[in-house]
């Protein structure tokens, strides 16, 4: 297997630091093929950004990585996706375990209608991570601190999570995702509902989180992709057009569709 990869490595392959790999992934919604034969590796402790015009399949691809597409009845996924060399679509795999390892942050902040504390504690309680109340308190504090929200909310942990501002809510959702201590965090346009200042805070946060987590982010903003990610993949019409080091892709794209997109000629 290794030898095959070495000799005829697909475009999206990384040599040895891949946390997740996708090979020949196609996604169908009913009869429509939304994603066509995508090969892409996700580097460990790296930020990988997925860019491309609306409807290009980048969010669909992201949702394949923690099998969120399972929730949609008409959606069908083909191909292989592995996490630490384990096929996540093999039968008998526990989706719950997978999602505990691959967390997700959504486009629109979606805190649960519970207190800030309960929002963070939700995941740990679900998976029985904390042994005691004190340990749970620690997890909540640590997650909020990592998400840069602790100082703002420490005095109102029992207040409603929905009472926070949009940017705070999104950081709350990130803290919630961190609290179950995942290995990979998927972010689906996490800043598209936020103002520039909140966006800057989240981008800073993403950069810090890279130390401990592998991050995949879908974004519409090419500046954001350039700022936060080390590796960028460009999707167009359900096809992975080009993938490479972020700097290389933005300064010296190999494909002319990529060139057209990043210079703003379409999309």
């Amino acid at each position: 297997m290794e030898a095959v990869l070495e000799s005829e490595a697909p475009r999206g392959a990384l040599r040895n630091t891949a946390k997740m790999t996708a090979r020949g992934v196609s996604v169908y919604y009913g009869d429509t093929k939304a994603l066509k034969d995508v090969d892409l590796d996700i580097g460990e402790n790296q930020v990988t950004s997925l860019i491309g015009p609306s409807g290009c399949g980048k969010s669909t691809f992201l949702r394949c990585l923690n099998r969120m597409n399972d929730v949609i009845d008409i959606c069908r996924v083909e191909g292989d996706i592995t996490l630490d060399d384990i096929d996540i679509y093999r039968s008998g795999l526990d989706v719950v375990q997978l999602r505990a390892r691959v967390g997700m942050v959504f486009q629109k902040p979606n805190p649960f209608p519970k207190s800030i504390y309960d929002n963070i504690a939700y995941g740990p309680r679900l998976h029985g991570i904390a042994e005691s109340k004190a340990e749970l308190d620690d997890i909540v504090e640590l997650s909020l601190t990592k998400a840069g929200l602790w100082d703002e909310v420490k005095d109102r942990l029992l207040g409603p999570g929905t009472g926070l501002s949009g940017g705070q809510q999104q950081r709350l959702c990130i803290a919630r995702a961190i609290a179950v201590n995942p290995e990979v965090i998927l972010m689906d346009e996490p800043c598209s509902a936020l103002d520039p200042i909140a966006t800057a805070k989240i981008e800073e946060l993403i950069d810090e989180l890279r130390q401990n987590f592998t991050i995949v982010i879908v974004t519409h903003s090419m500046q954001q992709a350039a700022r936060v990610s080390q590796r960028t993949a460009f999707f167009h019409l359900g096809v992975l057009v080009e993938v490479g080091e972020t700097e290389q892709l933005f300064t010296n794209p190999r494909d002319e569709r990529t060139q057209g997109y990043i210079t703003g000629r379409f999309g």
Binding site: M68, R99, A100, M104, N110, G123
Partner: protein
């Protein structure tokens, strides 16, 4: 003139006014409607409102005042000796004269004085009605002319029309509130008369209910008892049994329909469940009395229990089935309204479907679910027919669901059915029961609202 005919004329005038106003606005604008402040329709409506509202108000005022004026005239025209009568007898006389004038049956000999007074009264009313019709029509025409003259490009017709419409809406909502107040007051006054006969403490805390009043001192069974406790105990027990049936079944089917069922199944199952709400309660009554009650009695006997053939259990169970759709349909709707993003958030943290429902969807939908349960409950408390047929009339104070009990609504019905005198404690008790029932359901609603507000988890 007939009031209906007059109203029709006024409406026709108003629509003429609408057409006039619209045309006038076009003319005033000099063929450029865009120079007008509002669209021409609003000028039309403006004229129509000026034409219709004042004249209709005049008419309404007249309909309220006119009988009093006519009666006052009638009394002042009566011979002096008639005017000396006591108020009660005078009002009887006036009643007779009015009846004579309108051609109804009269309770005394018709003498020339009476006939003259009736004729006079008739004439007064005719003249009055004709004058009112003339006044209303001329007011309408005046209003039309006035409004039409005021039309100018700078007239803010839209603002005026919208303000009038909003006043109308306020009036409409006030009517609903006033009606409620009226109902409560009418109950309260009758209940007051009841409490003048039976002490309120006996009514509220008395443990036996046997509503009868003696005609003679020595009558058999003359002692009546008006303790409402057995009735409310019966009502609460039957409601409790009904809720025990309806809430679990309703909630589980709601969860199944909104979370597990495919859209196709949901589209079939939901309307089928809702059919239950459309079955007439009398039919449920048959079902309870002829099928469920004997079944319960037989199965009770089989395991050695003594079950009466009319039992609270039978009535409560059937009532529970009747209100299942209230719980299931509404709960299903509110759970469907919980945003998908919340479910996604839970799934992304590794929650299973059932965990998501228990911990995210259900709490978020709780206020609506409580609302649906409350609606079902007030339905159960107010339900009469099933209980009449299946639970019986015996006011037993018991906690045993296998015995016959009766409810507040059933007793109200039996108290008011048939020929009744409206000044005996027996009849008036119905109003006191109604008032108390109203107070209980109101209190339940207030408590539930409070609970919902306290524990609600707001999304969005």
């Amino acid at each position: 003139m007939n009031s209906l005919l007059l109203i029709a004329i006024l409406l026709v005038l108003s629509s003429v006014g609408y057409a006039f106003g619209q045309r006038r606005a076009r003319v005033v604008s000099g063929g450029h409607p865009s120079t007008l402040h509002s669209r021409p329709q609003y000028y039309g409506l403006y004229v129509a409102l000026w034409c219709g509202i004042p004249s209709l108000l005049l008419m309404a005022a007249w309909l309220i005042i006119e009988p009093h004026v006519a009666e006052w005239l009638l009394v002042s025209n009566l011979p002096a000796d008639a005017q000396q009568l006591s108020p009660d007898r005078l009002s009887l006389l006036v009643n007779d004269i009015e009846n004579l004038a309108s051609g109804n049956i009269v309770s005394r000999e018709v003498d020339p004085v009476l006939q003259a007074a009736a004729d006079g009264y008739k004439a007064v009313r005719q003249i009055g009605n004709a004058a009112m019709a003339a006044a209303a029509i001329s007011l309408a025409v005046l209003g039309l002319a006035f409004a039409r003259r005021r039309i100018a490009p700078s007239l803010r017709a839209r603002n005026l029309v919208e303000r009038t419409v909003s006043v109308l809406m306020i009036l409409a909502s006030t009517i609903a509130i006033l009606t409620t107040i009226g109902i409560v007051l009418s109950l309260a006054f009758e209940a007051w008369r009841f409490f003048a006969r039976v002490p309120i403490t006996e009514f509220l805390f008395g443990l036996s209910w046997s509503p009868q009043t003696a005609l003679r001192e020595d009558q058999v069974g003359s002692s009546g008892a008006f303790g409402a406790v057995p009735l409310f105990a019966g009502t609460l027990m039957i409601t409790f049994i009904a809720m025990c049936v309806a809430v679990p079944i309703g909630l589980f089917s709601a969860i199944y329909m909104s979370e597990y069922a495919s859209p196709k199944i949901r589209a079939t199952v939901k309307p089928m469940l809702e059919i239950l709400a459309g079955v007439p309660t009398v039919v449920y009554g048959f079902f309870a009395a002829l099928t469920v009650a004997p079944f319960i009695r037989n199965s009770g006997e089989a395991i050695g229990l003594d079950v009466s053939s009319e039992s609270a259990l039978a009535a409560g169970a059937v009532m529970g089935i009747m209100i299942i759709p209230f719980v299931s349909s509404l709960s299903d709707d509110v759970m469907n309204a919980v945003p998908r993003s919340l479910r996604d958030g839970a799934y992304a943290l590794g929650a299973t479907r059932s965990e998501t429902i228990k911990q995210v969807v259900f709490p978020a939908a709780l206020p609506g679910i409580v609302g649906s349960v409350l609606l079902a409950m007030s339905r159960a408390i107010g339900e009469t027919m099933i209980v009449v047929m299946a639970a019986g009339l015996a006011a037993n104070l018991t906690a045993n669901p296998l015995e016959a009990v009766t409810t507040v609504t059933v007793q109200i019905v039996t108290l008011l059915v048939g020929d009744q005198e409206f000044d005996s404690a027996k009849t008036l008790a119905a109003f006191a029961l109604g008032l108390l029932l109203f107070a209980v359901t109101l209190a339940l609603n207030v408590v539930a609202l409070h609970v919902v507000r306290r524990y609600r988890e707001k999304y969005d």
